[in-house]
């Protein structure tokens, strides 16, 4: 079952502007950690704001927990915890008072305030006002607010912004734990691939308002493996290319030699043997491994 299903989402801020979102399809599976990835300004926050009703929908449909969001907004929001962009904290209140503001609305037990403060490591902030908090502390308070009412779905927009490296690791572990132990589905946006790579089970890649990829992290890695190739340098590259064509192996000439798709070791050994038998010197045969970052860059650069 899809916890979030957005189909055909398009949005433009004014009639004459180009669309900031163009026919977005986004499906978040139950129990998944969905990493919503894209460079700054790609349309991640706009998509999340549309999903949560912060922006009025122009085109497309949004359903959450199988129900149309527009009609059941209040009931659905009761099951969702959110953190959108920069943290929302009342600077003149303490961490506990900030959470008490939301506790009154959600009507969850008051004891939850201490629990979530402990979860995010802010239990010792006492009477310190939130305006005196560092950005990372504010971000953690935002996470605490999102967790307060024990939601079934967390929608987090760049939650690691402002966190130090240790904080990022802690946040990642916390989200994994919530997902694993409490079954909370998480939709998390980020512009940092390594962050998503270490956390997500599913990935959506958005760029310039268009969804370039959506699938499991495994499917994205498969694409990475497929993108890996072999580069070969010989004493006579045109002759070598001709020989490969004769062997029905697709290859193309590049600046630094001949490029062909990744192949089994035995196939490479055979190619090498054939080249030598034809009197072509083989100077180098090397595997070029594409990392996920290159896949991401390729996806976003070609669109």
């Amino acid at each position: 079952m899809h916890i979030i299903e957005a189909t055909g989402l398009s949005y433009r801020f004014s009639r004459n502007d180009r669309p900031v979102l163009d026919n977005i399809q986004l499906q978040v599976k139950e129990g998944s950690i969905y990493g919503f990835l894209g460079p700054n300004g790609a349309g991640k926050t706009t998509t999340l704001r549309l999903i949560l009703g912060l922006l009025r929908k122009q085109e497309g449909d949004i359903s959450i927990f199988g129900e149309a969001f527009g009609r059941r907004r209040v009931a659905l929001l009761r099951r969702i915890g959110t953190l959108i962009e920069s943290p929302s904290v009342y600077g003149h209140l303490t961490a506990t008072e900030n959470l008490a503001v939301w506790q009154k609305v959600f009507q969850c037990p008051r004891s939850r305030i201490a629990e979530v403060l402990k979860i995010v490591g802010l239990q010792d902030t006492g009477s310190k006002k939130a305006r005196q908090f560092s950005l990372g502390m504010k971000q953690r308070l935002g996470i605490a607010a999102a967790l307060l009412h024990q939601p079934d779905l967390l929608v987090l927009d760049e939650p690691t912004n402002g966190l130090d490296p240790a904080g990022i690791v802690e946040m990642r572990e916390l989200l994994k734990k919530l997902n694993k132990e409490q079954g909370i589905t998480i939709l998390i946006s980020s512009h940092l691939l390594p962050e998503i790579e270490k956390l997500a089970t599913d990935v959506g890649i958005i760029h310039r308002g268009q969804m370039l990829f959506q699938g499991t992290l495994e499917a994205l890695m498969q694409r990475q493996r497929q993108a890996s190739r072999i580069v070969m340098e010989t004493g006579d590259n045109p002759a070598a290319l001709q020989l490969l064509a004769g062997l029905h192996i697709p290859a193309r000439m590049e600046d630094n030699g001949i490029s062909l798709a990744a192949a089994e070791k035995s196939v490479l050994a055979d190619i090498n043997r054939q080249l030598v038998l034809q009197g072509i010197d083989v100077w180098r045969i090397a595997a070029v491994e594409e990392d996920l970052e290159s896949v991401f860059m390729n996806l976003t650069n070609t669109n």
Binding site: G53, L54, L77, I84, V89, L93, A100, V101, K104
Partner: protein, 261 residues
């Protein structure tokens, strides 16, 4: 609906804790009575004579309200309403408020109810302040007699109610503007502009049509002017009419807002 409104009100009330507005209400409520209290203990001989007056409480309350009515009360309301409404813009929290399980109307009325509650709080504190300014000097200094006139509850209630109603159009208009604009100086500037415009045309025959004019007009009523003769009807009806209109427009604009945080 009622329950979620109560929860929303509680949540909004918590936000106002230790805010500038809450201090404004307390300081604003006691400021003028404190001046009168100090005046009464500094000029004790005059105070002793005043205490014997059969209209002691009316005189004291009238003087306090006159100082308040012309500028301080409207200005305080402009500031307080704008500040409390702008809490969300200032703290970047509209997006969080609008992703809580509350209908937009509950959020709208919850916020407005807190502003109204703070206004009532101000009126209560102001009246307590007037009472203390009248009663305390006698308790502190034996030379001053306790006011001989029985405390006129009805007069205090009527005067307070008249000023409360006169304040409503200002609250409604400031609420409307503050919900729409992120920049705090927009509601503040608009409020000061409307107040100055109202003060400028007070003596114009149609001056009562300006929605910020009713508190200043009450200043003249306290001084004995017959404003009903000028407006053709009680000014309270104009004030209530404007308040309903502004709140209705504010509600429609708030609900129709495309970008909610």
């Amino acid at each position: 609906m009622t329950l979620s409104f109560i929860h929303s009100f509680q949540s909004e009330w918590l936000k106002s804790r230790r805010s500038l507005t809450s201090w404004l209400v307390i300081i604003g409520g006691f400021f003028i009575p404190l001046i009168f209290f100090i005046g009464r203990i500094v000029y004790r001989e005059k105070t002793a004579a005043e205490s014997a007056s059969p209209e002691f409480w009316q005189n004291l309350a009238g003087q306090c309200w006159q100082l308040m009515a012309l500028f301080l009360l409207p200005m305080g309301i402009i500031l307080a309403t704008s500040l409390i409404t702008q809490i969300e813009f200032r703290n970047n929290t509209w997006k969080q408020v609008h992703t809580t399980p509350q209908s937009y109307s509950v959020i709208f009325w919850g916020k407005l109810a807190v502003i109204m509650a703070m206004l009532v709080q101000f009126f209560i504190l102001f009246n307590i302040g007037i009472f203390l300014a009248g009663a305390l000097p006698a308790l502190l200094f034996p030379a001053i007699d306790y006011p001989q006139q029985p405390f006129p509850f009805r007069f205090f209630w009527d005067t307070g109610l008249r000023f409360f109603i006169a304040s409503l159009p200002i609250v409604a208009m400031q609420y409307l503007i503050s919900l729409q604009f992120r920049n705090f100086f927009v509601p503040l500037g608009a409020g000061i502009g409307l107040l100055l415009a109202s003060l400028t045309v007070l003596e114009w025959e149609y001056g009562y049509l300006l929605p910020y004019s009713y508190s200043p007009y009450n200043f003249f009523i306290l001084r004995g002017a017959d404003m009903k003769a000028l407006a053709g009807t009680d000014l309270e009806w104009y004030a209530l009419g404007y308040s309903v209109l502004f709140i209705a427009v504010s509600f429609v604009l708030y609900i129709a807002k495309k970008d909610k945080g």
